[in-house]
Assembly symmetry: C2
Homo-oligomer: 156 residues x 2
């Protein structure tokens, strides 16, 4: 825990799943309907600060989120990133990208070319309508992953 770290003090978004090691939140990012973050609960700045078993657990959680996005949303591309320049507390952005989103094909950290209110609203609504199914799959798979992590010995 770090008293100065927002991700030690707050969930960091709408909480979708939580277990002792990590949590999944939905980020409220205008114009990006399927933007989630796997946040490691302990305050470590870098992914390589984790021992190997935890590093892999973290990436298995990222893979669950990516796979659920692909299964439910069929996005054009998945973007994954661990940056943390502003908030050096390990978190992985997992973002479903669509060729109609306001940044595509640029990364979401570039300047948007289309404002959220100018996006095709039927497509935005469609992604939103799939959110319950998307998060149900994430929740089910992350629950299995967390249970396995709680009961098994580290494999690495």
């Amino acid at each position: 825990m770090s008293a100065d770290c927002v991700l030690c003090q707050e969930p960091g978004g709408r909480l979708v799943f939580s277990c002792p090691q990590f949590r999944l939140i939905h980020a409220s990012e205008p114009g990006l309907e399927a933007f989630y973050r796997i946040i490691w609960n302990a305050h470590v700045p870098e992914w390589s600060d984790l021992p190997e078993a935890q590093r892999w657990l973290c990436m298995q959680a990222v893979a669950v989120v990516e796979q659920a996005m692909r299964d439910v949303l069929a996005p054009r591309k998945i973007n994954i990133a661990s940056l943390g320049n502003h908030v050096p507390h390990l978190h992985w952005h997992v973002i479903a990208r669509f060729d109609w989103d306001g940044y595509f094909p640029a990364p979401v950290w570039a300047q948007p070319h289309t404002a959220p209110e100018q996006l095709p609203q039927d497509k935005v609504a469609h992604v939103r309508s799939l959110r319950t199914a998307l998060e149900a799959q994430m929740l089910a798979q992350l629950t299995l992953l967390a249970e396995a992590a709680a009961t098994s010995q580290p494999q690495h």
Copy 2:
């Protein structure tokens, strides 16, 4: 192999290391002296296209690059990303970030606030002077990783 894919046709940068599954290249990105990419050799768009053992091998390679950067360069932060919106062939950006670089604290896909020629040239030169040591560590560790991958059964 995809005939339309630049990463199927070309190394994608200055080759530092290569093994059957992946390669490491140094990217020539102005103002970012320690920008490397782990490129999966087979043409798969998404990280989750890989079976679990290969997915982990890929991330172990990313971890080697990250750890070498931390050991040799002592950067302010490591940034890792798999995007591929322009080139949907799996590759991981691994970037050592410094508080004096032209983008910090923004991601490197934002607009730079400082042009490469305006950066502190002594600091740029210092990072460049460490490149041989940095790549020697990457090469040694990736060689071990590739040897282990070649001789062991998949663990996942």
